[in-house]
Amino acid sequence: MMRPPGWQRITTVLRNPREALTLSRGNIELWANLLIILCALVFMVLKGATFAVTLGTVFGIWAMLSISLNLVVGYTGLLSVGHIGFFGLGAYTVAILTSTTAYENLRTGEIPTFGWPFFAALPVAVLVAGLVALLVGIAFNRFRDDIYVLVSFGFAIISFNVFLNFRALTRGAFGIHDVARPQIGNWVFDTELELMLVSLVLLAIVVGISWFIVSSSFGRVLKAIREDEQVAEVFGYRATHYKLAVWVISAMMTGLAGGMFSSWTTFIDPNSFILLESILLVSIVILGGLATIWGSLLGALAFVLLEEGMRFLPFLPQEYVGQARQVVLGVLLVVLMMFRPQGLVGRFKL
Amino acid sequence: MEQHSSTTEIRPHTASEGMTLELRDVSVHFGAVAALQNVSLGVTTGELAAVMGPNGAGKSTVLKAIMGLAPVTGGQVFWRGAPLMAATHEIVKQGISFVPQGRRVFTHLSVSENLELGCLYLNDRAEQQRRLDSVLELFPVLYDKRRDMASQMSGGQQQMLALGRGLMANPEALLLDEPTLGLAPIIVKEVFEKVHEINEKLQTTIFVVEHNINGVLDIANRAYVLDKGRLVHSGTPQSVQETNILTDVFLGRLGGESEDEL
């Protein structure tokens, strides 16, 4: 079931409190769980509920992203640094389809607007991301290990350049304004609380799909392929097909997160989809732990808390918060690779 | 193979009594698997000792234990009466050269570069050159190909190259790991003759691990038989041939148990 890893330890610790004092290797999962959740609680108390609601939306988006990336990294062993591309695809599809702001480009003339409602554009975004992922996946299926990382870097760069330069569609560096908010009938999800609601509902869908796949026979085959592709083939599974399928599913869920993101900010430009964001995403997944859904949730939570928490630090000027978080994440990656390659609560070591 | 006048620069070592290279009660474990269990064997100066046994008997592990390439979990290796504790890359400076299994020559380097690597630690170009000349003299086949890439040579030539690389360090003891594995019978004979020549002319102590029993017994002074990580026989080559120990070991008539700890 979806029990957080280390749950059994919590019950044993409750029965035998002395064990809580011994921070042994095996307890890292428990401590990571407790620490991050405790931080979240403290944060909520300190900052108040309104702020926590905003944070909830951001958390929902990052969690969707990291869960879907974890499906690829944790269950096929392929380290994709290119998922930000699918995120951008989802975001841009929703933005282009829903935005009604006219925009005139000197070179291309007026760009048409569609004005679709959010919930009509969202499935299209998912489909677009999936379709592109299918093509990309077919091309990438022969790569692995370090070369896979390189070509996935390539996908991130190429998609960023497309967002930036394909002005006739994406309006380039000017970005797209007035992306529609989610709307059902006359109920527009306009406030932060409502947006958080949508974000968390979408997150629940992503978690559900991931869990459904991972806990099925399909998920088990994926893990086997990750461990030893050739042996899995000897037992009758065509590894490339399975890898491609999970890649496409993962990209579709990333596209979903992208759609949510663009509706939340209502304005997107290529700067949200730079390579650095993708590297950060990878580090969240590795930090939380590979091949667990709970780990990805935890990683995303830690990531969001880290940024907001750093604003508390008195000696850190506000403009350096992003950078400081990046330093912490980078150092964490190194430390994890050194001592705990499966991440905080992971089930798979790279 | 033609005879060569042995005006080589490699100096013969003076013989002395007792074991020069010795394993005392050495055990090696790879994880839970025991590759060697309390094995004691050795070689005296100027001798050629052969270690034999079927696949998986732990023959190669004996040499790897000496070179610090296998985790020794018990016992100790002695070299000239003192425990051998140097790091792998420093052992060669102490006079032990290792020729690993499978002709692992540096395939992207030329033959003479391969040879020079055998005494790279010297930092003395003149001495390197002298040794290069003498080794090339010992192996005429290498002299002809000295500018070629090692990858372009046949298996037998690569084996000669590996032997020559080992000799470049002017070793007191030469450890050979399966020098004839995967070579054609005629080449096998050539390799054994060369090993014999090195042993006889240069007075180099040789410790050879070999699966080709008949070939190696002709040239050895001392023989050990390993089975399933244990020493089952030690003595002269004659004693090995007289008993049926080898046939028994190879055809599984000996019984005995290998161990696998849980």
Partner: protein, 252 residues
């Protein structure tokens, strides 16, 4: 060793002039062997004689360079690894290759579950699979260890689990590469019992071994390879008493 068509039914697996080259070296060189239906066939030979390469070729792990493999009457020029269960073949590996970072139970369940691509997404581990997995794990004596990761097992247990995994696939031909290597007596007996059980079920077992003692005990037929070629084939004791075998092992 080609046989007349009438005899073909007696053989479940035949190779016709198969070869495999690595660089300039022929690991398997125009090899033609026939493996009788049912019973245990052992493949022996000195180091580098092509035993493991033969297993790899038959299981599609390596592509064939030349020649034809006839499996149960089907003539195949190429064998894809993912088709081997359809040809009713499965195998184990010389260096144990388990799915390391998943549990012992999952290692078995992977083999049992459906091969249908989309059906797999909707398939949960049902009671039937679980029962079958338990049956197999109990046979190899590892039901208590079912939740451990495969990588945390000892060498002997890994070896047993790999054989168990192969057994879980319900096929006719089992290719076992060194199933007895490095096992201690109790484990060895267990593997022997497993193989005997499979033989009684009428499966064909082909195993590579260098342990002649076990070959004598277990095998019905013996194939001796040397230098990628067939040296001898036939009944175990007949073959082992031939002088060629001894000389192949001891070198010339």
């Amino acid at each position: 060793m080609s046989e007349s068509p009438g005899q073909r039914d007696n053989y479940i697996l035949e190779t016709l002039d198969i070869s495999k080259h690595f660089g300039g070296v022929s690991a398997v060189d125009g090899l033609s062997i026939s493996i009788p239906r049912r019973g245990v066939t052992s493949i022996v030979g000195p180091n580098g004689s092509g035993k493991s390469t033969l297993i790899n070729l038959l299981s599609g792990t390596l592509p064939l360079d030349e020649g034809i493999v006839v499996i149960d009457g089907k003539r195949l020029r190429t064998i894809h690894a993912y088709e081997t269960p359809d040809h009713s073949i499965t195998r184990t590996f010389q260096e144990v290759r388990l799915f390391d970072q998943i549990s012992v139970l999952d290692n078995i369940l992977v083999v049992l579950t459906t091969r249908k691509f989309w059906a797999a997404v909707f398939e949960r581990t049902n009671r039937q699979y679980r029962a079958r997995a338990q049956e197999i794990l109990e046979q190899v004596g590892m039901w208590e260890k079912r939740d451990a990761l495969a990588m945390d097992l000892s060498y002997g247990q890994r070896k047993l689990l790999e054989i168990g995994r192969a057994m879980a696939l319900n096929v006719n031909i089992y290719l076992l590469d060194e199933p007895f290597a490095g096992l201690f007596p109790q484990m060895l007996e267990r593997v022997k019992v497993l193989l005997k059980g499979m033989r009684e079920q009428g499966r064909t077992i082909i195993f590579v071994s260098h342990n002649m003692e076990i070959v004598r005990e277990m095998a019905d037929h013996l194939i001796v390879l040397d230098g990628g070629k067939l040296l001898l084939a036939g009944e175990v004791e007949d073959v082992l008493n031939q002088p060629e075998v001894i000389s192949a092992y001891l070198g010339t």
